[in-house]
């Protein structure tokens, strides 16, 4: 039975096969994608039927990877939630892929589309089957990454590319929550947070664990789910994400990816429902989202935007249902909603001609005589609502104000401080001191924090300051080295973890540096569309991007996971700083990739 799970790797394999820049005919791509989706679907059906007899829910340990004395188990957890998610993935995957075969006929990037979709489906499979948090995070990351690629599917549209980058920002920031959550789990239970264990955990056991950590963990988890499921204050992004072909929007923002956050909450339910705070927070977020997206959704006049807000408001409703404790109900709601919304998006182009056709007497009368809630309010209040809705509750502006601009300001302030000669000398002296006196000094931690801070500084600098790819990548390397030094200073015992992380990564870092050197003259403020001309460089850089941002299909992911886990045993502050660095680094790669290889192409 365990061998059956190998079939779930099929989408990944086909995706990689299609990612290799050898052009295949549409027919071959069609067959390959259908096959690599159909076989896992049969496996899912088999597992589902099998689950009726035998112990259920079921935990299966499929394999274990050992890296320098550290175990990374691949565990599957089969319960009703798994089958709901897996079922959706395969049903909608098959339908959407079938739809896209005809829909994308003769489109440039046919192969790229299916490669990305299959990669996404693999991510969803991992996410649904994952038996513990680390694996779940792996699936989660894949989904986010493929989302970035599909929003930016039309590479020559600069707006699509910058929207993709903006949404990837939100994803990364929220992923930080899940990453920290996963690492926290290790501290609390001395292994990855197993969902099976979580289900069996009684309230007492949870009460026995460290309450602050538990609250923090809850907070991290909820934060992570906000980004993926587009809940308040991030509920605007699905409407901006409708830049790819309709079927990709349908499967991502109508159906699967957007429900991943809800699924995470279902998985972690024993955890957040233990304390009052989690339950209340989820409920409040759900309510807020419901309110905001209902108002915004009613005001939208484009069909895809309307569907996006309708989706987020339904997911807000799911959040409320969750906080009220109707977990089973949420599963049904999730399943039905995904199917329904996917269909709506797929037929959205027909809205001009179909039932809402204005020219129809009945429809016209209905629209003309429509009574709306808003009309019952006094005029000024009504106008206020409308104005707020039409400016998206100033959410984007505030979001920029809260997130983007402070980073920028922090960076500029830091920069001004550091560039001061006196501080420079002191810093330099301190670093020399720290390196020479590593052994036997208690104050080492201070230096370690110092280096971690420096890494953050360099990471921020690489993304906000430089307009040339090479200098940005150079600062990125500094930041990476800073991280490692900081870890080393913290505890020499950690050297093996550092090695496990850094060794597989180094060749890719060098490659990325070489590529950036090659394009050092290009300004990162503009799009250069080198993707077709320098296809090889683009592909290699994409691989570096995946490795260096810790994409789960690469070994760097396990190294990163291990490193952070070991680190957390020693210092939580440094872990947080380094995790932040790693997250920002992912963004940097997305930025360089999109600016160098995407944009308007020559005719």
């Amino acid at each position: 039975m365990k061998a059956l799970f190998l079939f779930y790797l099929l989408p990944l394999l086909s995706s990689m096969l299609l990612a290799i820049p050898i052009k295949h005919s549409e027919k071959i791509i069609t067959r390959l994608t259908t096959l690599s989706l159909a076989i896992p679907s049969f496996v899912s059906i088999y597992l589902f039927i099998n689950s009726f007899h035998g112990s259920f829910p079921l935990e299966l340990e499929l394999a274990v990877i050992k890296v320098s004395g550290h175990n990374f188990p691949f565990t599957a957890w089969l319960d009703i939630g798994t089958f709901v998610m897996l079922g959706l993935t395969h049903i909608l995957g098959l339908l959407v892929v079938k739809y896209s075969h005809g829909y994308l006929h003769l489109e440039k990037g046919y192969q790229r589309f299916f490669s990305t979709i299959l990669f996404f489906i693999f991510g969803m499979e991992v996410l649904s089957l994952a038996g513990h948090m680390d694996l779940f995070f792996a699936g989660w990351e894949i989904v986010g990454f493929s989302s970035f690629l599909l929003i930016a599917f039309y590479r020559s549209q600069t707006r699509s590319v910058s929207n993709a980058w903006r949404i990837y920002n939100i994803y990364r920031v929220c992923d930080l929550g899940l990453l920290m959550g996963a690492v926290m789990g290790h501290i609390l239970w001395h292994e990855a947070t197993r969902f099976s264990a979580l289900q069996e955990m009684s309230g007492q056991l949870l009460s026995a664990t460290n309450q602050t950590s538990l609250t923090l963990l809850t907070f991290f988890i909820i934060f992570a789910s906000l980004g993926k499921s587009a809940q308040f204050p991030f509920h605007n992004w699905p409407s901006q994400a409708m830049e790819g072909p309709t079927p990709s929007s349908a499967i991502f923002y109508g159906a699967l990816s957007i429900h991943a956050g809800v699924f995470l909450l279902i998985r972690m339910q024993p955890l957040w429902s233990h304390g009052q705070m989690g339950t209340i927070l989820i409920g409040v977020i759900g309510l807020l989202t419901l309110f905001f997206s209902s108002v915004q959704g009613r005001i939208q006049t484009n069909i895809k935007g309307q569907i996006a807000f309708a989706s987020t408001s339904q997911i807000g409703l799911m959040f409320i249902e969750l906080s009220l404790g109707f977990t089973q109900l949420v599963l049904i709601h999730l399943f039905c909603h995904a199917l329904y919304r996917c269909f709506q998006l797929l037929v959205s182009p027909s809205v001009v001609a179909s039932s809402s056709s204005l020219n129809n007497k009945v429809v016209f009368q209905r629209i003309k005589t429509r009574k709306i809630l808003l009309d019952k309010l006094p005029t000024r209040l009504k106008n206020t609502f409308y104005v707020l809705g039409m400016t998206d509750f100033s959410m984007d502006i505030s979001w920029r104000g809260f997130s983007f601009i402070p980073w920028k300001t922090i960076y500029w302030k830091l920069r001004r401080a550091i560039s001061h000669p006196a501080i420079m000398t002191v810093l330099a002296a301190l670093s020399v001191l720290s390196l020479s006196r590593v052994e036997g000094v208690d104050g080492v931690q201070v230096f370690s924090v110092l280096f971690a801070l420096m890494s953050v500084y360099f990471a921020l600098k690489s993304i906000f300051f430089h307009h040339r790819p090479f200098s940005a990548m150079r600062d990125f390397s500094f930041s990476l080295i800073g991280c490692m030094v900081s870890v080393y200073l913290l505890n020499k015992q950690l050297l093996h973890s550092i090695e496990a992380y850094i060794l597989p990564v180094t060749p890719f870092l060098v490659l990325a540096l070489i590529i950036c050197w090659q394009f050092r003259k290009h300004d990162l403020r503009n799009f250069h569309a080198l993707g077709t001309k320098h296809a090889l460089a683009a592909n290699v850089f994409m691989i570096c991007f995946m490795v260096l941002s810790g994409m789960p299909v690469t070994t760097a992911f396990i190294g990163e996971d291990m490193l952070l886990e070991e680190l957390l045993k020693h210092s939580s502050l440094i872990t947080a700083l380094i995790a932040l660095c790693l997250m920002i680094n992912g963004l940097l790669f997305a930025k360089i990739y999109s600016r160098l290889f995407m944009g308007r192409e020559a005719l």
């Binding site: 409407s239 409703l317 909603h337 809402s356 020219n359």
Partner: protein
């Protein structure tokens, strides 16, 4: 004052002409430049829009390789156009490198100064908001909450009032007092904000031009609505001034919001007018030579066959069928004539001379059913025969395609419809035809009756037009139509009048597949109306008395409707055919069915996906599937490949180059010795056909500038148009999927008439004269008496002796 309407309308000349998507008609995409000679216009446009209005180099190289573009001819053209540089140009064409980069159209030079100064794309942020607000104001029924007072006030007043009366000041307006942003009139506002945005007075006009051009799509729609407000079912008051005022307010507000510093970027002292570099000019001329050579080579093949063709003996026919002149009907006519030699076909504009507003009982508004430039003369209404108060069937193709906006209802619907919608999707994806019949000739007993005769006692409904025709008008109309196509004798017992239209699902561009002569709608109603007139006994009597036109009483007219996507013909009211003709009618139905099968087969060959050799039934399935499939982006190929229009007897075109679609207008030179009928015909034919041809031409050659890009990510905005995703400007032109198989050639218009009459026929209509004299079409005539072709060049018809041979 700086900004006046004159200046704005001058700017508006560069805007694309956009109509609400359901009112789509094919227009020359460079219509504002039609007063210039073709090549001059193209040069100007390529500099102004940074566009490349000719096919890519690769296209010509392919043609050279396949022999369709002979090198001899190309060299000849190059020598004539480029003179001493021709060798160099030849080299460039054969192995040179040509790169053309479209810069992002959404920013101009002055706006870029701001973007660079602030370090972020501030214009994109401001435009994003403006696009949203515009679509909310103009919305035609998609949004659930309409913008308060959007129907009563103008755009500027409406927004001003809305924001002033709100309790909370929305975000980008928090830096200043609101009344500093919104001044009392749009004009004042524009002037005030221009001082901030572009203090340099010499550059202000350029700044405004840039501001408007960065949102070309919306500005184009607004300008068009401003001129013909009746295009919107829910009327809106908006003009370019309003648009500009709000745009400048938003630009300023966003700049202040994002930049803490008060300063200005350094604007360039003077802006150089956009023009082509000398090298680009040379390249352009090389392209021009390629295009001219390719056009000449292609046309010559066709012209040669026309000259060499022998006259056919006129045989009496059992059936006559009049189709629309549309190029999609040309193949069907060919197959019909192949099936039986006793069938004679004619082509004419598909509205059959009936310039009407047609009101279907299920529709809320009457629709214009005549060519777009023509004026509407009457209002025609279909009335349900049985019971007027019967509950109307609704066009519910896909229920619940749109979210309701109410989250409780949505909760309920998502549980209720999840399974059914998935089933619907699955069945459509895997079995799009379901149990639909494959029958391709369908008899329909109409549920409605046209109110054709004018009832003087009743005044027409909403429109101020008279309802229905008087008897005299009908007689004139029928005579005019028949004499235009030279069809005044030899009436066979059955005459079919076939209108055409198209049906496809999940296609926002469905209107582009309709009948061009009926403003993109189905021509069934016009055909029915014409048949009713022609069958009327009184009309026939008067025809005889007034014009001497005798239609035998045994002759019966039948209306039909050809669905060009499904290749299905519906025949109306066949139950009332006189019994003695029932038998021959049944035989014709068989012929029709065979012809339709053949047509379907030929069409499915041209769809690239088809790999099997279609036998007739399979081909029928294939074309039906395209009409019903949700995922089909190319339900039919429309006017793809159309390059010829022929005004003349069917005899000269019968049996020539089978796979070349052409507009075929019937015309008999012998009944029109003074060219008066020809002038009338050309007045409709030239604008419509060249509009279609040039729409395809420019969408194909530069889809990024003049076309709508790919259909796949498109999103419907306010029932008005489509955009890419949720934040882009309105798209215009044709999408990539409609033109990717098009051969961009200018239309070749061939008239069967003497050269002096053909030349005289275009003198009186200024629009026609403009198009022909500026070479937006190739105009030629074929003198049947001496069998020679004359080409229009520099104001005269020149005889053409040499024809290019293809190797």
């Amino acid at each position: 004052m700086l900004i006046d309407m004159d200046f704005l309308s001058e700017v508006a000349r560069d805007l694309p002409i956009i109509r609400p998507i359901k009112e789509f008609i094919h227009l020359n995409l460079l219509l504002p430049y039609q007063h210039l000679p073709f090549w001059n216009a193209l040069t100007e446009v390529s500099a102004k829009f940074e566009a490349h209005p000719l096919p890519e180099l690769e296209h010509y190289r392919k043609k050279i390789k396949s022999g369709e573009l002979p090198l001899v001819l190309l060299r000849d053209k190059l020598d004539r156009i480029l003179k001493e540089d021709s060798e160099q140009a030849m080299k460039f064409i054969l192995e040179g490198k040509f790169e053309f980069i479209h810069h992002d159209s959404r920013t101009g030079k002055l706006h870029d100064c701001w973007n660079e100064y602030l370090g972020i794309n501030i214009i994109q942020l401001a435009d994003g908001m403006l696009i949203k607000w515009l679509s909310m104001f103009m919305d035609q029924g998609i949004g659930h909450w309409q913008m308060p007072e959007s129907g009563e006030r103008s755009f500027y007043d409406c927004l001003k009032n809305l924001i002033f009366s709100s309790y909370i000041v929305p975000a980008p307006f928090r830096k200043l007092v609101l009344s500093d942003y919104f001044l009392s009139t749009p004009e004042e506002t524009i002037e005030a904000h221009l001082k901030f945005l572009c203090p340099d007075e010499d550059l202000q006009k350029t700044y405004i031009r840039e501001s408007i051009m960065t949102l070309r799509g919306w500005a184009g729609l607004i300008y068009n609505i401003q001129q013909s407000p009746q295009l919107l079912p829910f009327p809106r008051k908006i003009d370019l001034l309003d648009f500009l005022a709000i745009k400048l307010i938003l630009e300023r507000a966003w700049i202040e919001q994002e930049s803490p510093i008060t300063g200005h970027p350094v604007f360039p002292k003077t802006l150089e007018p956009l023009s082509l570099t000398p090298e680009a000019k040379k390249n352009f001329l090389a392209f021009r030579a390629c295009q001219e050579a390719l056009e000449e080579a292609t046309y010559d093949q066709y012209l040669k066959t026309i000259i060499e063709k022998q006259d056919e003996n006129e045989a009496l026919s059992d059936y006559q069928a009049i189709f629309c002149m549309d190029d999609r009907e040309s193949s069907l006519r060919r197959f019909l004539e192949e099936t039986s030699s006793r069938i004679e076909t004619f082509g004419t504009a598909g509205h059959y001379g009936i310039n009407c507003l047609y009101h279907h009982p299920e529709d809320a508004f009457p629709k214009k059913q005549c060519p777009a430039p023509a004026a509407v003369e009457v209002y025609l209404r279909d009335v349900p025969i049985e019971n007027e108060n019967k509950r109307l069937p609704r066009l519910l193709k896909f229920k619940n395609t749109q979210p309701t906006g109410n989250f409780l209802k949505e909760w309920f619907f998502s549980h209720l419809n999840a399974v059914s919608s998935t089933m619907k999707l699955t069945s459509n994806l895997f079995f799009p035809l379901g149990f639909k019949s494959l029958e391709n000739v369908i008899e329909i007993k109409s549920e409605n009756k046209l109110k054709l005769f004018r009832d003087e006692s009743v005044t027409a409904g909403d429109s101020k037009l008279p309802e229905g025709y008087t008897l005299n008008q009908m007689v004139d109309l029928v005579y005019q139509q028949l004499v235009l196509i030279g069809f005044i004798h030899h009436f066979s017992p059955l005459i079919f009048i076939i209108g055409h239209g198209s049906n496809s699902v999940n296609n926002p561009y469905f209107a582009t597949y309709g009948c061009g002569a009926c403003s993109g709608r189905s021509g069934a109603a016009n055909a029915r109306a014409f048949v009713e007139m022609a069958n009327n006994v009184e009309v026939r009597e008067l025809l005889k008395a007034k014009y001497g036109l005798f239609i035998p009483s045994t002759t019966y007219f039948i209306a039909g409707f050809h669905d060009t996507t499904r290749d299905v013909i519906e025949l109306y009211e066949s139950h009332s055919i006189p019994s003695e003709q029932k038998c021959s009618y049944e035989r014709f139905k068989k012929y029709l069915s065979i012809a339709l099968y053949k047509n379907a087969r030929e069409r499915s060959k041209s769809f690239k996906l088809v790999t099997y050799r279609p036998v007739s039934k399979q081909a029928q399935k294939e074309v039906l599937r395209r009409s019903y499939s949700l995922f089909e982006t190319r339900p039919e190929l429309g006017h793809t490949g159309v390059a010829f229009a022929i005004v003349g007897r069917r005899d000269i075109t019968k049996g020539l180059i089978p796979d070349q679609p052409a507009f075929l207008q019937s015309y008999d030179p012998s009944v029109d010795p003074d060219g008066k009928l020809l002038a009338t015909t050309l007045g409709a034919v030239i604008p419509v056909c060249s509009g279609i041809n040039l729409d395809y031409f420019f969408s194909r050659v530069d889809n990024l500038r003049f076309g709508a890009g790919s259909k796949l990510p498109q999103n419907i905005v306010g029932n008005l148009g489509v955009s890419h995703g949720t934040e882009s400007d309105l798209l215009f032109g044709l999408p990539f999927q409609m033109i990717d198989q098009h051969q961009p050639l200018r239309l070749f218009l061939l008239i069967e008439q003497k050269p002096e009459i053909a030349l005289a026929a275009i003198q009186n209509n200024p629009l026609v004269k403009q198009i022909v004299y500026n070479h937006w079409v190739h105009y030629a005539c074929f003198d049947p008496s001496i069998k020679k072709i004359f080409l229009f060049e520099n104001g005269q018809m020149l005889i053409k002796e040499n024809f290019q041979e293809l190797v």
